[in-house]
Amino acid sequence: MNLDEIKSVWKEYDLRLQMTQKINEKIIVSMIAERSTSRFVKARRNYIAGMTWMVICLLLGCAVLLGNPFDYYLTAQYIPIAIYCFCIAIFTGAMAHTYICLKKISISHNTLDISLKKIIGIYEKPKKFLKYALIVFLFTQVFLFPLSFLPKGIEKFGLWLALSERLIPISISFLMLYTANKLGAFKERNAENFKADLNELNELRAVAAELKEN
């Protein structure tokens, strides 16, 4: 078969493809539905990974509280770690609650918009409370945790020198936190993605209705 023959075979193939049946618009709506399902499955999987990580962090915090590896000798020095454990426990609980709620939802083509609204609701509900918990958690880790080593520093260098020495880890932590925030580490993307899906779905439903009318 030479090149001219190849081209003629391809032309024939192309013509026959052009004559195939048109695609139903319902199929395009289904494609959005499938993407939501896949995103939903992925979101649930991420929650399991997140919860596992939180439990590890909580265990580490408890180990610090019980084992005292930093040789704290004042009760006040334990406060940042205690707040850390408390916040992590809250995050783990919130994640477990969201995961259980998400597990109860099943996405199907016919009920896609209702399911998406439910999912968005689950994400939005604890948002405010978790935002405050996150602020407390980050403030503790950036400012209070480095300050828990202050009593030792005061003994060694005196108040002002110890305070200025503590500014180094505080600045580093603050800079890391600032960069992470700028890079979008604290953004909740799942709810945004599902909202985009819902918008796309509503647009496609409108098209389908319009086509039916025509």
């Binding site: 090149l3 075979v9 193939y13 494609m31 959005i32 896949s38 992925k42 199907s108 496609l204």
Partner: protein
């Protein structure tokens, strides 16, 4: 715009079918790729500035999806809506085994690399070098060299495939 999109996909479904048939032989894989291409087209449709031809833009999105994006994000969903499962990509190769020449050509194309498949598709679609370079994002000279190499390779493959089948 939305109605326009559905009509546009339907008017150019042949291009998407050809890309799907060229890159995959399994029905499920073809369907997955088809969906991914339509989604990518839908996502980029608002930003399609009509600076280039509609078909050029469709070829670019479809081939880019087939070559890169789809390979990276091959996460298969756990379940599929019934309407998508009912949808079949017209193959015409498997269903027309009597068309030996088409079967032979498709068999030979399967031996080419992903990029070579894209180039040969555009060549067979009789796209100009300028359009090809616009779709593929490479220079016209590069396209010319590639085409010559692929044509020779394809002819050799066809010859050997035919010899094997005898």
């Amino acid at each position: 715009m939305d109605k326009e999109f559905v009509n546009m996909v339907n008017a150019n479904r042949g291009i998407i079918y050809k890309v799907c048939n060229l890159y995959f032989s399994e029905e499920e894989d073809k369907r997955d790729l088809f969906q991914e291409i339509v989604l990518q087209l839908w996502k980029s449709y608002p930003s399609f500035a009509k600076m280039s031809l509609l078909s050029t833009w469709i070829y670019r999105v479809a081939l880019n999806t087939a070559i890169s994006s789809f390979r990276r994000a091959k996460v298969k969903p756990s379940c599929k809506p019934i309407s998508v499962l009912e949808f079949d990509i017209p193959d015409l190769v498997q269903s027309a085994k009597q068309n030996e020449r088409l079967h032979l050509l498709m068999d030979a194309i399967q031996h080419l690399s992903k990029v070579e498949k894209a180039v040969i598709l555009l060549y067979l679609e009789e796209k100009s070098y300028e359009e090809m370079s616009d779709i593929m994002g490479v220079s016209k000279t590069n396209i010319g060299t590639k085409i010559n190499r692929i044509k020779t390779k394809l002819e050799t493959i066809i010859k050997s495939v035919r010899d094997e089948s005898r």
